[in-house]
Amino acid sequence: MSAVTRSRPRSNPVHWLGYGLVGIVVLFGVVSFFWTPYALSDMAGGRLEPPSAAHWAGTDRLGRDLFTQLMIGARIALVVGCGAVLIGGVIGIVTGVLAAFATRVADDALAAVFDILIAFPTLLIAMLVVAAREEASLGTAILALGIGLSPIVGRITRILTKRVLSKDYITAARVSGTGWGSIVFWHVLPNIAPFLGVNLALQFGLAVMAEASLSYLGLGAPPPNASWGRMLQEAQGTVYTAPWGALLPGLALFALVIGINLLADGLRDRFDPQRRDG
């Protein structure tokens, strides 16, 4: 390695912050299946109450408990993020690697398809799907976001793979008789994995964000699915009198996304051989 490479400690406290933040959100999301302080539609409190012992995060303008809504929101964000990244990752990586290996014509065609699909970004596709289905459901949102993410993953996989394939060691491997299948598994995938892993983590964050945006626009999964995005939309009108209502869902969304990003950084530091040698 060159002299400029820095040495890094194996365990970085910042990454533990990432694990911690994601852990807290996961914990609340899981607990919400078994217990929430109130029922979701229970108008137990006064209107727009500030946080108190009875309502830890205050109440909304109908007197419903905001902490309950935040917990359900955590569940929805995680389910949507996992589902969308799984769908988008599988489709994207397979098509991206195929495109990089394909003949010139097929590669151009696939690259064009990626470009076209990226031209309909995640949020737009999801909006159209919601428009198409009279009633939006969580499943449609996941599918739409997953399909929306796949061309981004595919495009980056293709570019990264081509970069690896243009290296001399691939030529050397070919000359020494290594098959294309082995090249994919022993040279391409390990080389693109760190960058791709970071990218998939970012996609998870994007999916969570896109779901929140959909809900913010009023096109998300309908009640009783309390999404952080819809909470923000409802709170925007009363932000001056009840700022906590707009502050907390955004903070939760922010904490989850930054937690995932830090966690991805931690994984990269652990698995990227170039960094490990430092």
């Binding site: 990226i118 031209a119 949020l123």
Partner: protein
């Protein structure tokens, strides 16, 4: 290079045709007859039939598709069901809000992200580099509409410096008000976008800093600074340019949400309104024009990338 541009141009045109087909199919998959949406609830079958004849949805799909391609070739996007105004006029009015918003935010984001990203890479070991990375991490994770709401809370409701939303009815004929109402939206987009751009700039700069060619340049007697300026920046720019196209498109379409936060009459709110009112010509128009702009951006980014990196021109495998 010329051959590449021509080939890329053919791909661009083919992409447009494919996109047009995808849109045609997608919009036909939407539930309900557009003719029924045109005449509204409670219309008699005769009225619906008349509406179908008027917009041509009683024709076979093949005929409809050819008519649709013909209209597109003449840039005729039809008329809105709701306002009866030509869609293209409405779109050009909306673009006069969305395009300046996008470009102003994009430019501001670049001005912030490129110098800070390079600095964060060069000073990676110092406190400055660390602080910049933290700021960029935070910026990436901030939901854009949340940031918008927070900025409105502080600068419109608390300090009362800027309007909390809306756009002057007379548009740019009222330049002071128009610019005022753009400041917070532009800031909102630029802050979030510069954070993710900075991350790319920093990552690609770090890769260059660790590269063999830079070490060779140093070994041949160039100063660190000189080697960076002569070889480093150009190499670092290649991967950044490849994401710029995507980032610009994302900004343009991300405007959907930001326009909603600030009640700006742009393309995003036109699409949202179109979906709510089932105004198919408007939905279709917004999507076609957006697609065209995004594909053009990708085309330009690809050409720029080739110009920067000669290796891409030769290496096919």
């Amino acid at each position: 290079m010329l051959a590449y541009i021509l080939r890329r141009l053919v791909i661009l045109l083919l992409s447009l045709v494919v996109a047009a087909i995808v849109l045609f199919v997608l919009l036909r998959l939407l539930p309900g007859d557009p003719a029924a949406a045109l005449v509204g609830v409670g219309a008699t079958p005769e009225q619906i039939a008349a509406a179908q004849a008027q917009i041509g949805s009683d024709q076979p799909l093949g005929v409809q598709f050819l008519a649709y391609l013909g209209d597109l070739a003449r840039f005729d996007l039809g008329q809105s069901f709701v306002s009866r105004a030509p869609v293209i006029e409405e779109i050009s009015r909306r673009l006069s809000v969305t395009l300046p918003l996008t470009f102003a935010a994009f430019t501001l984001a670049l001005l912030i992200a490129v110098p800070l990203g390079i600095l964060a890479a060069i000073r990676a070991d110092s406190w400055a580099g660390l602080a910049l990375s933290v700021v960029s991490q935070i910026g990436i994770a901030v939901p854009v509409f949340w940031l918008g709401i927070l900025l409105v809370y502080e600068f419109s409701l608390n300090l009362r410096w800027l309007p909390s939303g809306g756009f002057p009815l007379r548009g740019y004929a009222d330049p002071g008000k128009a610019v005022e109402s753009m400041i917070l939206p532009v800031l909102t987009i630029a802050i979030v976008m510069s954070a993710s751009l900075m991350r790319y700039v920093r990552a690609s700069m770090l890769e260059v800093l660790n590269s063999d060619f830079l070490r060779t340049a140093r070994a041949l007697g160039e100063s660190h600074r000189g080697a960076l300026a002569r070889h480093g920046l150009r190499n670092a720019a290649v991967p950044v340019v490849s994401v710029l196209g995507i980032e610009l498109s994302t900004t343009f379409l991300g405007a959907v949400v930001v326009e909603q936060v600030f009640s700006l009459p742009g393309m995003g709110s036109m699409l949202l309104l179109g979906i709510q009112q089932r105004d198919y010509p408007n939905i279709q128009g917004v999507l076609i024009v957006s697609t065209l702009l995004v594909l053009l951006t990708g085309f330009l980014a690809d050409i720029l990338q080739r110009l920067l990196d000669p290796r891409l021109r030769e290496a096919r495998r």
